[in-house]
Symmetry: D2
Subunit: 375 residues, 4 copies
């Protein structure tokens, strides 16, 4: 399969470039009988829009979702679901003027080598974060499916910006979501959110950007989801997460801290609660042997500081093969986590929907669920 | 595709269980014309054998590789290459006696739920680290291919055990490999190796185990390798790495440290050296936008402390649904990195070979290379 | 992978329903550097339009191609190419009135069972021949690619309608194409075309339809194209051909006549012509062991009589589970071959482009070809 | 995916060459909990052995199946099932002496071009009909699965040899199977079998071979199996059938006869029998729109006369690039249908098992069926 296609049974095809006519996604394999409206998708796309001019790009896209196929009378039909948003607020002048000077930290240079100059350089083209609006559209379908069939819910939030770490309160996912969406940093901790915002504002003011971490929590997965060996839950989630521009690391549960732990400490021992087998701790992040344990699935992705910064940087002019200076103009986020969080949710939903279908947890037609919904 | 199959054009099929008749791998898509002997594969398999009784399992497998197809007169034919080793030193008694008591930290419980008890529990069955001998066999083919065609070399080593971190000297990959294979911890730093060894010995003596980190370095990749979007180099490498039992996190370049950095610091600026475009730093780990930059590809995987420990742990008896105590007997590694390092090399080689073929860097038949080799 | 996605390296995603907002296709994996304009695609789509009111549907679609991504400054970029046409001339009333009476010969009944009524019934929905406009759009890209890189050309034509068989003259492909496109039956024999036209007119006048055969010839493929075992050229071509609505049989070379032949007669013996190894006959249809021989690739697909006929037929009412009569109204073709021929060309091009890329015959970037083209 | 791998959820990996150490198959994706013994597979492999020295090769292989993984205590575990038979009765001398003279009708010439001489030429290597023993092993698992879960049964038989066509009596599949296996031609008509046998004996006596047709019937499939568009039942069955060496055509139902029919004649009208919707005729071969109708699935594959004949034929010497004569020695079948019939059954079972899993008709774990089987 080719690089713009993800999944086995719930498959997402991504298309579009930053400054091309449209960004889109096709979902093939969504079961028939899922209630789905254009608004379900629009709502998720809107969450990805910049919440805060401090943190984010000034590019103002309406991002009105068009639903082209696969839905009939308010239910999915089992046919591919094609969706797109048009690119309207496009200004390519800076990119065209600087097409031969690769921006440090961007894909410009390796893409130029790979495609021998045929790739679309405007706004980073196919390598722009803008394409994640397609992930979000596909993810909206996946989220609806997981929620409707398994009752599973996904929440991703900004866990860290610079050295500021959020401390999420011990509340349910619903309440946590409320907190997250009450601040523009999408942090599960209002106090930390304020500090994060300050760091981002500082970075932006200095013509700079700052790194961050998104944490994601999934509630409601039954035990045993995932496929050994190469299609473990961790394998497939990390594959999808690393396709989000800017992600440079992924860890589950205690993650890299496990290097310093002993087995007697890190092993999550079992007990019985409410008649169900549960682990006392969750250092494994809800995944053992690549399979869900039935506990919360928890993982983190680190996002590098956005590469587009106003400060002057050293680069090369590929035409003259001499060194050159570059100041990246254009409209850019100064910190990725706040807008990456919905994208992390989206790709997580896509991978989990795919696995739930593979595992037979979601049938190809939601007939009975539909019947119940009709009552 | 199903869970035991990895790759698109250089495809690896894994089969076998810890205590079944054999562990094997089939490689489909290896170009014709690669010089390959049984010994090339045996050599890599031997590197995976326990080097140190302190760190590792007492299970003594000869692991004699059988090459069943795909090679004729010393060259690959383009047909699938099937390889296997037999399991001989097998003792399943403990597992059969404890099949209903899931070992904390192992896949036992979710696997039992997923397969409703049909999975083979002996030695962890399909979820055992033992299956990685198949990865190593397939990886041996991939390594040979990468080396023969691109001159690319891969080295993985123990970078950390507990709080002890190795400090690799600034030497070439060949010299580094010599150091790594001169100590049983597979560390690129002899002094750290001794401390690591002590930590592992202590853990083992206490009926415990300890966590670790493997770092991997790839030299010799041209710029532009990788496929956007979902098949970025990071996506496909992490997918493969997370299929190694015990891996709980993967990071490229500066990895999670990027959260605390500014863009002006993390961006790898370009310059020209020896007529080639290079980055001055390598915080991106040799990958930008999912494509290789032409610099060293560097990443780390954290390996949890081995879950099989002698210390008593709390679990549940799935038959009676009551809590129970378990002491894991059997023969186990007390630290994963030393034996995981060759496995990390193997899966890295598999992914890179796949990508190099996809990118047209390795042709389907190595005719000309062969011709040159004949001179 | 799911059912609306075809191919490995040149991948086509089909979406859309007969009476939905749009019909489209996404091509992922097209090499960068191919000159491609919207008009290249429009031209092929126009060939699929009804040429003759006698043979074809009265549905009048403008079918104006929109090119949404993957092309920049007249060249493909290596990114996915998304294309669509809108459905405008839609009248769903008959289908809605008869949704519970499956039309004999159509997918209505099994689709209704499979999707439990959630599928879009309007115009056959996802099962309509209308979706082949997406195949043609994707095929246009594939044809251009094959022609530009290998100089390979594909021609499909109406070989048989009822008992009337065309006898193509012994001329080159270019001249044959001229004949084919000079008559509305798309037959390579003007006299047969007239007889075919009469048969179709008779069938239509009687409220009936008639069967046909499309033959396809490919010129310019080098020997050795195809992949053993399951991805033989015949395997992959037939898979694609059987996805064209109405195809019920596929045969290569002498096809079903081989049952009555002896090996001494059917074997294509070799000789040397112009310094090249060629076969004296071509009973194998240019494919041996699933690989191209270097000769003309020749195959035929039988297309059943269109299922939508005005004559009354017996069916069942799925609501009352009683027998019922049905007369299919709406606008339909009376014979499939003339409009199926361009679709056969399209899917053939898609499969061959995929195989040529897999075989390394077409590189991921057409840099050098491009350079030559610029001179 | 690569050429030796078939399927999406029930995946078959084929490996081995005619004169290599072994022929094998790996099945990944077989649900856990299927009762399976080595003998189930051996039985099917034995059916593929030559039944009649008149029709078939003198190569005498014991073909003792080794089952290497995926089965524990008599049930499948959900892990990959690896199986192999060793090649023992091998004589490569003729092939080595004639490696540069491609046999007419064989893959020798295109394979030599494709692999630039690296392919294994002994016995046709990877292109030998011998590899179908791997298909049969995998098919044995698929058949057991279909029978155990859906009660579906598959029967393939010799429908035609030369101009002699069998006329199967109107009896059930079980009785038909008895007739088929009571004659060495595997024909469903004893009288035709005798004539077929005479034709084959004549051909063999004259140093020649003869063509044939295998017909296959599947009973017990529910309506709605199959996936639109590119994964229609016909698409996937034909893909698998064309991977059987010698198949040059595939048709469903009335097949190529549909070219001469009118829609009013070919459309299978619906009625109700025993409370179920059924078609009165079955010209569609049990498949409409790529989905099963619930009726018998019926298709035919034409097998060319075996290419290995003793009569002298013209070929070329690839070393000297001059014409040459060849008389194919070795041990060969004079007619393919009798031994191809079990292979047709095998690949049919593989494709149907894959589709039944994709459609959710067969769950990933056969827990309840198992529970019932335990009573």
């Amino acid at each position: 399969m080719t690089g713009s296609i993800l999944g086995e049974r719930f498959v997402v095809v991504s298309f579009g470039e930053s400054h091309g006519p449209a960004i889109g996604a096709v979902v093939d394999g969504c079961p028939a009988g899922l209630p789905l409206a254009r608004e379900d998708i629009q709502r998720e796309v809107d969450l990805r829009k910049p919440a805060d001019p401090t943190a984010s790009t000034a590019r103002a896209e309406r991002d009105e979702v068009k639903l082209l196929s696969g839905v009939y009378r308010g239910y999915t039909t089992g046919a591919p679901i094609a969706m797109l948003v048009e690119n309207r607020d496009v200004d390519s002048s800076w990119y065209l003027a600087n097409a031969m000077k690769p921006r440090p930290g961007h894909a410009d240079y390796p893409a130029w080598v790979k495609y021998r100059g045929f790739n679309d350089p405007r706004g980073g083209g196919r390598f722009s974060g803008r394409i994640t609006v397609g992930f979000v559209m596909a993810g909206a379908v996946a989220k609806k499916l997981l929620s409707y069939t398994l009752g599973a819910e996904i929440l991703a939030y900004t866990a860290q910006v610079g050295r500021v770490k959020a401390e999420p309160p011990a509340v349910g996912l619903r309440e946590l979501r409320r907190i997250v969406y009450s601040n523009s940093m999408r942090a599960p901790d209002s106090r930390a959110a304020r500090e994060m915002r300050r760091l981002v504002a500082e970075a932006r003011a200095g013509g700079d950007s700052i790194g961050s971490v998104v944490e994601c929590v999934v509630e409601g997965l039954p035990p045993g989801l995932g496929e050994p060996v190469f299609s473990s839950l961790e394998s497939d989630l990390s594959k999808a997460l690393f396709s989000i521009p800017g992600v440079k690391g992924v860890e589950f549960g205690a993650g890299f801290k496990l290097a310093e732990m002993h087995g007697s400490e890190s092993n999550d021992q079992y007990t019985i609660r409410g008649g169900r087998v549960v682990t006392v701790t969750n250092n494994c992040g809800g995944v053992l042997g690549g399979l869900s344990t039935g506990g919360l699935v928890v993982f983190r992705a680190v996002l590098k500081p956005p590469s587009s910064i106003a400060k002057p940087q050293m680069t090369v002019d590929l035409k003259s093969m001499s060194t050159a200076e570059i100041k990246v103009a254009g409209r850019h986020d100064a910190c990725l986590a706040p807008r990456a969080a919905p994208v992390v949710e989206a790709v997580t939903a896509i991978v989990l929907a795919d696995h739930a279908i593979r595992a037979g947890l979601i049938p190809p037609v939601l007939g009975e669920a539909y019947a119940r919904a009709q009552k």
